[in-house]
């Protein structure tokens, strides 16, 4: 008995030794450094873009009142940000973006799950979803205006149609690419039916689903901007209709300032998705630390 216990202890020590040799902790840089390494390339890119823009203006290719430089546009932006109307417009646009995207998220996810699970549905509407995804959203507006008039609902209709197919396709591709071994392992430990989806298939599909969500956002934002340019709802100022009015009043400074706002919103949201993607990949060991 004593020798048996000794043997157990020896084995435990040997295993601990080998484990220690085979796993080395990765060193994580501090948070400040991490933020700096992601931020400085963006700052550099902005500086280069501003310089290129200024260079085109300096070249005298177009007169100043058509293409103003950053030196005029940036103060115009700051001035605009001091007005209540600007923030009302941003608020309305963002509310439309969030509610339209949320609706697209629900519809796209339900559709994606249904198509991924059912062979019949897949052969029926699988390629239709991809077809919808490639269709330029602006092509939907004549129909949307006919159906709903110049209303919020016309804009929502097109935003959802723009984003939902990408979200559905992301989920379908994610489910399709789940390694069969994962599903087998899941079945073996007792995951069946809904539980198999909840605990194995959907978590395994998450990275591709997030890529679909990101693409869906891009389509939603584009559709929304197109919609706000075309469908101007009375007394509902938005980023899109302000852009349209700026063009009509030949206010090039204001127009470019609004374009900057649209760009910044796109970048900020993309950063959020990028962070989510990085977190998922880091947890799953999908980041090569030697690179």
């Amino acid at each position: 008995m004593a020798t048996e216990i000794q043997q157990h202890d020896k084995l435990a020590e040997e295993i601990a030794g080998l484990d220690a040799l085979e796993t080395h902790l990765e060193s994580h840089p501090g948070p400040a450094r991490q933020i700096w390494t992601t931020v400085w390339p963006k700052l550099a890119a902005i500086a280069i873009a501003l310089f290129a823009w200024q260079a085109v203006v300096w070249s005298g290719w177009k007169p100043d009142y058509v293409l103003p430089g950053p030196d005029k546009v940036l103060p115009a932006l700051v001035e605009m940000m001091g007005t209540a109307k600007f923030w009302t417009a941003v608020g309305i646009t963002m509310r439309r973006a969030v509610s339209g995207y949320a609706l697209a998220l629900v519809i796209g996810s339900v559709l994606g799950i249904a198509v991924a699970r059912s062979r019949l549905l897949r052969s029926a509407v699988g390629s239709l979803i991809t077809g919808l995804q490639t269709m330029p959203s602006i092509a939907w507006f004549p129909l949307a205006i006919l159906l709903f008039g110049l209303t919020e609902r016309a804009i929502m209709f097109v935003v959802v149609l723009g984003a939902a197919p990408s979200i559905a396709n992301g989920l379908i591709a994610g489910v399709d690419h789940v390694p069969p071994l994962m599903v087998r392992a899941g079945r073996m430990i007792g995951a069946k039916g809904v539980n198999l989806y909840r605990h194995v298939v959907l978590p395994a599909a998450l990275p591709t689903y997030v890529a679909g969500l990101k693409q869906g956002w891009a389509f939603a934002w584009r559709s929304l901007m197109a919609g706000e340019l075309l469908v101007i709802v009375a007394n509902r100022p938005s980023i899109g209709d302000q852009l349209q009015f700026a063009r009509e009043f030949s206010d090039a400074d204001g127009m470019l300032a609004l374009m900057l706002v649209i760009l910044v919103v796109g970048i900020v949201v993309d950063t959020v998705f990028g962070r989510a993607d990085m977190t998922i990949r880091r947890r799953r060991g999908l980041i090569d630390h030697s690179a």
Binding site: L11, A12, I15, R184, I189, G190, R283, G285
Partner: protein, 256 residues
């Protein structure tokens, strides 16, 4: 008396009676297993050894209930867990949550499954590693975590499909000791598939040698060497040599 009643009465854990398994239909059909009859006693450690195409994995799938035999009866007295060559841990869960998932699926409460998962991790010498992610572990540690996950299913029969095939020799030796300890502590019935003859002689109570294409039971070798064993002991190596000779004779038949 039905076969399963007989099993319960006779303390047999697994019984294959005249089991054949064919894949495909008509002229293109391949016979993977041909008239296999094999009994495994409760608490026994049996190794299935054979060259490629001997239907080792097919047999495990039949016993695990993942597949059905074309002809014959498969009776299993108890629940089974299956381990693969890859650990197949879920990368989105921590090691502890991986081990706790079978408990969660069985409806065990949160605090209790956490405690049980930590106990099991302790048992496979992974105590304190529960918070890490599978990719942060070495191959041997992952297989031990997979073993803990299999034990969490609270089964009587453990089926192992070349579980140490992808590990280096030193890690494998330690895992043999580990598995032997777990086996003697739990009283599990283990059916272990390998093409490493020495591994089979090191671990099992009985080696079952299968022929290839189709898989038939060619021979059986009882292993009576005292435990604990070493893979490099003269007895283990001697037995492995005679099994290898028999296996090579089988393989030669396919070269003609």
């Amino acid at each position: 008396m039905t076969l399963i009643e007989e099993l319960v009465a006779t303390s047999t854990a697994i019984s294959l009676r005249g089991v054949s398994k064919a894949f495909g239909h008509g002229a293109g059909a391949v016979l993977a297993l041909d008239n296999i009859t094999l009994d495994v006693a409760r608490g026994e450690f049996v190794c299935l050894v054979g060259a490629s195409g001997c239907g080792k994995s097919t047999s495990l799938n039949l016993i695990a209930g993942l597949d059905r035999p074309t002809v014959g009866d498969v009776s299993v007295n108890g629940r089974t867990a299956l381990m693969f060559q890859e650990a197949a841990l879920f990368p989105w869960l921590t090691v502890r949550d991986n081990v706790a998932l079978p408990l969660r699926l069985a409806g065990v409460g949160k605090a209790q499954r956490r405690r049980r998962a930590d106990e099991l991790l302790e048992q496979v010498h992974l105590g304190g590693q529960g918070g890490r992610r599978p990719h942060e572990l070495s191959g041997g540690m992952r297989q031990r975590a997979a073993l803990a996950r299999a034990l969490a299913q609270d089964v009587e029969i453990l089926l192992m499909d070349e579980p140490f095939g992808a590990l280096d020799a030193m890690t494998r030796d330690l895992l043999h000791d580990e598995l032997e300890q777990v086996w003697s502590a739990t009283g599990l019935t283990i059916m272990f598939v390998t093409h490493n003859v020495r591994e089979a002689a090191r671990l099992s109570d009985r080696i079952v040698l299968l022929t290839s294409l189709p898989g038939k039971v060619a021979d059986e070798f009882p292993v009576t060497i005292d435990r604990p064993r070493r893979i490099d002991s003269p007895e283990v190596m001697g037995l492995a040599a005679s099994v290898t000779d028999r296996l090579r004779a089988e393989v030669r038949r396919h070269g003609d």
